[in-house]
């Protein structure tokens, strides 16, 4: 590698934040028209963001340097803000990029026409997500949360309509309150420790006198409540199903990763601040996380069983997977965390695909095809073969139907639905199964009441999801109806195919993926590695500083 390339590659951690920000600013300057150009720019920027995230992931998956700290303002730790790439944040960044790319591809078929500034909001949302995953500073975490949420308010209401606006009002009110709790929690932590750098706070916690411990724990609990509300933990999650089902499909698919941010923040901060060897405050709140997560998983499972609509089912499956992650954090075991992370990756991709599939399946149920989809430039054109048989009474002349080719649109929907169902329910051979096996085998070694409960619930929730999906599948694919086969466009089918391909890849590369995640979990449970890496970050000296300086303005 040449010197120039080396100098550039050290700035890589800031690219996932700067790239969407600059793209959004440029697109805003383009005005409200020129949607075609903006679509191309958005797609290119999202794909580039994913590529950078993958490079970051491969840079930390090697042996030695698996935590990289970057100083955007070139101020020394702990005074300046810091971006940290470790295995966990790199994995979350790659998930963000994948979900983002799938959503933006899908939106290009029709949905980006439904309102102005869709692409701008989309990029800002990505910026907030990447920033929240990469930052190593508490207040910066709040700022990125707000960027992410402010963009999500707009995206939720993309497309307009009473249902979206009403769900949006509730969603904004709840998130504003949660953000205030987050702020109060951060302020208390600052008051106790005198620092905002996550690693520095972790170091100072052992020096906190006993008289301040109550205040410290109160601050941490406030932070925890704010994150749990965003991670949709029961009983703080009643906002999620109405909001996610009201949102347009590409927005809902992107929101799948939003609940993961809360879980990520809990995992990051609790492993840093309250590890098992933290003395009096060791494993603070672990029981709440454990049983709260279990209650959430149970709530999600019951919701999945109770609902009749596929989009509500998808929303409850998001709740269930979020509950699994939080419950796993409470156990504080590397093996359990690793299994939960694998399950998290697979369920995120599957839930995203499910949200995208919902609309296509619904379109196949409805006779009236949405007007925009008819204008078929570059879309998949399928001969409406079944129309010839439309008048045939099925039960009367069954023979006329034998040998009829299934229209390929319906075949795609059927196969995609079956694959998504396999991942969501955790049946072999897809990635949901691998994740559940990794999680269950780790839980069997814990041997506590909570571990048995969680194991049983994981299996029961799989059963409930299977029942619910079979019910939906039978209604969509086996019920006779005289509708023409749905028309699908390439931009609508490709993202679903890509997401399912990623789920298959997670199985094919299951061994290295699990090894990577085990490394991530072990690093999380040895917080000194993270702390040392952040403290080891050195400012760039004068000569090189000129290159780093321009990126200092975005921080606060």
């Amino acid at each position: 590698m040449t010197d120039g390339a080396l100098a550039l590659s050290q700035h890589l951690p800031v690219v996932p934040v700067l790239l969407p920000l600059l793209t959004a600013a440029a697109m805003l300057a383009l005005g409200e028209q020129r949607r075609g150009l903006k679509a191309v720019v958005n797609l290119a920027s999202t794909a580039a963001g994913l590529a950078v995230a993958i490079v970051l992931l491969s840079s930390v998956s090697g042996g030695g340097t698996d935590v990289t700290a970057y100083l955007p303002g070139n101020w020394p730790v702990p005074f300046g803000i810091v971006l940290v790439v470790d295995r966990l944040s790199a994995m979350m960044a790659v998930l963000t990029g994948s979900v983002g790319l799938a959503s933006v591809l899908y939106s290009l078929a029709r949905w980006h026409h439904a309102g102005v500034h869709f692409h701008v909001l989309f990029q800002l949302q990505l910026m907030g997500l990447y920033g929240a995953f990469l930052t190593g500073d508490l207040f910066n975490l709040f700022v990125f949360f707000e960027v992410m949420l402010a963009a999500s308010y707009g995206l939720l209401m993309h497309g307009g309509g009473m249902a979206r606006v009403r769900a949006g009002l509730h969603y904004i009110a709840i998130n504003l309150v949660a953000s205030m709790l987050l702020l109060i929690g951060i302020a208390v932590l600052y008051g106790v420790t005198g620092t905002l750098n996550m690693a520095d706070v972790a170091q100072k916690l052992s020096l906190v006198p006993d008289s301040d411990r109550g205040l410290l724990l109160a601050g941490a609990a406030l932070l925890g409540v704010a994150f749990l509300a965003k991670a949709a933990q029961w009983p703080l999650n009643f906002w999620l199903p109405p909001a996610y089902t009201a949102a347009s499909p590409p927005a809902a698919a992107l929101f799948v990763i939003l609940t993961k941010v809360g879980g990520y923040a809990i995992l990051r901060l609790w492993t840093l601040y309250f590890p098992a060897d933290a003395g009096a405050s060791a494993l603070f709140g672990a029981d709440v996380l454990m049983w709260g997560g279990i209650a959430t998983l149970g709530f999600g499972a019951l919701g999945m069983l109770a609902t009749q609509d596929l989009d509500r089912f998808a929303a409850y499956s998001v709740i269930g997977s979020s509950g699994t992650l939080v419950a796993a954090i409470g156990f504080d075991r590397p093996a359990v965390t690793a299994g939960a992370l694998f399950y998290l990756a697979s369920s995120t991709l599957a839930a995203c695909a499910l949200f995208l599939l919902v609309e296509l399946l619904r379109r196949s149920r409805q006779r009236a095809v949405v007007p925009l989809a008819i204008r078929d430039d570059g879309g998949l054109t399928f001969a409406p073969e079944s129309e010839r048989h439309a008048s045939v009474k099925r039960d009367a002349v069954e023979a006329a139907l034998v040998g009829r080719a299934i229209p390929s649109a319906l075949a795609f929907l059927g196969v995609a639905f079956a694959l998504v169902a396999l991942v969501v329910t955790g049946l072999p051979p897809l990635s949901g199964f691998v994740g559940k096996v990794a999680l269950l085998s780790a839980l069997l070694e814990v041997r506590s009441a909570a571990a048995w409960t969680l194991s049983a619930l994981l299996l029961v929730s799989g059963l409930f999801a299977t029942i619910a999906l079979m019910r939906v599948g039978m209604r969509h694919f086996w019920s006779p109806s005289e509708r023409p086969p749905p028309r699908l466009r390439i931009a609508e089918t490709v993202p679903i195919g890509l997401l399912l391909g990623a789920c298959v890849m997670l199985v094919v590369a299951g061994e290295p993926a699990l090894r990577y995640l085990r490394g991530a979990a072990e690093a999380l449970h040895e917080p000194t590695r993270y702390i040392d890496a952040v403290n080891g970050a050195r400012v760039v000296e004068r000569a090189a500083a000129a290159a780093a300086a321009p990126s200092s303005g975005w921080a606060r």
Partner: protein, 113 residues
Amino acid sequence: MELVVSLAIGVMAGAGTWLLLRPRTYEVLIGLSLLSYATNLFIFSVGSLAIGMEPIVQAGRPTNLEHYSDPLPQSLALTAIVIGFATTALFLVVLLALRGLSGGDHVDGEDRP
């Protein structure tokens, strides 16, 4: 002064919480604003409550909070004010949109008996 500030925070947070649970969107908006005032004051008070103290370390004086006011909570409060103001304004827009769509000012868009 500690008593006055903490009373102010408590009263605003209490009133804000009560208003937040009301069924009218305007009351919710005012409740959110009061809560965010309380939050901002709280962040501000995490530093050191003092009058006429400069937020900078001066030469020849010991560097503890007896002799200067911590500038960081002040800048945090500033950022929180800006963000809180923007999101509250956004909430106001959504409030008006809901009002336009539903014709009422109930948070659910309709009055249920």
